[in-house]
Symmetry: C2
Subunit: 396 residues, 2 copies
């Protein structure tokens, strides 16, 4: 038998897999065009042509050893340098290549950071609602995830509860901005207050508390909203990033960690990240992708596509009487369940072939998440189904 822990994790994962299977079965029964799967956050805009060209150019011009060989576990020096310069140009930061570690996506980056930071029993705070995978990432390294309760008015972090939940066991705080699942962006004001609390608690406990920022949706910000860059607010910060969304390449598994140059013992921390990258079995971020990035840094997929979807779905659903958090970034819409039991609402939606994910997955029951990284046409086709769902719940 496999491990008891894994047997439990397989069971825990069953809900989303079951929905995936159900969606496939529905598509078979009713036709793919009549099933509206809003459950998955799979980017679907085209990869920028310059990125694909950079891949081809690298294969044609670089030697095998240079292109496909081992490099330092932290990545190619030129890729780390290119990331540092790109960040400095955009955010006025002062990164050097030595502060950047290239990773196997943001999921890899987060595991590398937690492996570097956590001793058994160390606590990591997360603001509900949050991406459920964080529970696994923290548990992988014997940390304990503690939840800060949601502020269901604004879906900004509840800073009073945050302050109350920091203890001398708190080693890190994870934030995700823009937020999956709410689509909200934590404001500069919020981040400033959060940083003040963290500094106060660091002093009170005489220890470092690290801010870990998960930012795969950074470029997906709408209506001129800005996503604060955290190293400007708090020194003990690791920014983790994935090119999955900005370049539409989630399958390639390429991202990075940027360690704030002013953090405590920064050079030791980066050594730790590099060792963790190796020991966890990533070894290094995929080499061809690292090379292609250097030549196409700054390339971006069409984020306007998601904005158009956002406006259509948010406008239509609020008009139908659904209560939604106003999405400012990412590609998710956070809908208040009109049913006291969110599970029943998810089931009711399925009757109309609408697939949504319940908020319990994100530690925030009573809500559902809709991923609008789908075709505009699918959203259009789905609207009559939402209308029927609204009628069933007697919404305005």
């Amino acid at each position: 038998m496999i491990s008891k822990k894994m047997q439990q994790q397989i069971k825990d994962g069953t809900v989303i897999r079951a929905m995936f299977q159900e969606g496939k079965a529905m598509a078979k029964e009713f036709g793919a065009e009549n099933v509206y799967d809003f459950s998955l956050g799979n980017p679907m805009t085209p990869v920028p042509a310059e990125f694909n060209q950079a891949v081809i150019d690298a294969v044609k011009t670089e030697t095998s050893l240079e292109l496909h060989g081992y490099m330092d576990n932290a990545g190619y020096p030129e890729t780390r340098q290119a990331v540092a310069e790109d960040l400095n140009r955009r955010f006025g930061t002062e990164f050097e290549g030595k502060h950047i570690v290239m990773t196997v996506g943001a999921a890899g980056a987060l595991n590398v950071v937690f492996k570097t930071l956590l001793d058994p029993g160390d606590e990591v705070l997360a603001f509900a609602p949050y991406f459920g995978e964080y529970r696994g990432y923290v548990a992988n390294h014997q940390g304990i995830l503690r939840e800060v309760q949601p502020d269901t008015e604004t879906f900004q972090p509840d800073l009073a509860d945050f302050e109350a939940k920091i203890t001398e066991s708190t080693k890190a705080v994870i934030i995700n901005n823009p937020v999956n699942p709410t689509g909200v962006i934590y404001s500069a004001e919020t981040i400033r207050k959060m940083a003040d609390i963290l500094r106060k608690k660091q002093e009170a406990y005489g220890k470092e508390i690290y801010l870990v920022s998960d930012e795969p949706y950074r470029e997906l910000a709408y209506d001129g909203n800005e996503v604060p860059f955290l190293t400007k607010y708090y020194d003990n910060t690791f920014v983790t990033y994935s090119f999955s969304k900005s370049l539409s390449i989630p399958g390639e598994r390429i991202g990075y960690i940027a360690a704030c140059p002013k953090m405590a013992d920064c050079s030791q921390a980066v050594s730790g990240l590099s060792v963790a990258n190796r020991i966890l079995g990533f070894v290094n971020a995929p080499s061809l992708m690292q090379k292609a990035l250097v030549a196409s840094m700054g390339a971006k997929t069409d984020v306007g596509y998601y904005d158009r979807n956002r406006q259509l779905i948010y406008g239509s659903l609020t008009e139908l009487g659904f209560t939604c958090a106003k999405p400012q970034g990412a590609f998710y819409l956070w809908i208040k369940s009109p049913d006291a039991e969110e599970k029943k609402f998810v089931e009711a939606a399925k009757k109309y072939h609408l697939l949504l994910v319940g908020g319990t997955t994100f530690s925030c029951p009573g809500y559902v998440r809709l991923a609008y990284c789908v075709s505009y046409e699918m959203i259009q086709r789905s609207l009559p189904a939402f209308e029927k769902l609204a009628k069933e719940y007697h919404l305005a």
Copy 2:
């Protein structure tokens, strides 16, 4: 401060990094052509042209979503199928795509297997000398690595000590064939006896004990030696593989796990592997590489290159009076230290600009490892230095 565990791991990693830095410093002082770095196992033969062409073709012909998007955590169905068919064709096995999980290299594969199998305190046996990274891979998942003592006559596993060390806490046994660092191939005879012992112990303890085979060097076998395919000998077997060596693409991080169809609860085990791939932050093996593999399955770099190196270095060093295990596979030569203290021998070699790795790293003091995945010309240039080293130790 980062975690105490990681601070220790950074210290533990210092020896090899120090050697790497020392090599660079020596190259600067004496000229790169006068420094003979045999310390790293970095493949250096060219990538097969058909593989690079398959990469370019995939980028030019596939849609973004299909080429760079998310797929099932276990990999693309066509890639899993292609691996299964390739194994069946070569080894007469009966894999289907559903028994294969694509991974981020063999290091990723091993971590995924251990995450799936181990509960805290479970023991994993490894045969000394072994690849030192296994210690970290097992510890990542709270397992305990126990060593089986080396048989310094043959460097085949010491099966008596193996049998004695299996306890009711034993969950898995890791073998690496051909072996890094000795270059020896465990014979079919050895594997058959090992499997008999395991079956006996499974029955005695009324539990499964898994064999985990790490096979990145499978294709590097010389003199007509065959590498036994383990699922034919023992049912509870996971074979982990990397294309790093056969295609010379270690930087790309692409490999797989093949779960023996006859293992206990195979379908649950594969579900576990898939969940582990996701939770550990790999999510999936890099997508473009998976696509390129389908079109170029069976492509192979020039392994004859390593064979030529092997003959030169083994022939020359034994002639100079060094005692070496006869290398049958991989690209390593295992040399008995003529100094009672291997560290002193490593230091003596450095005087002649020869960089070798001490056997203590592989839990087998008194030996050193030489990696001959270097240019033939470098080996030729290094021979006078070895001659001086042999003279210093008054070898025959």
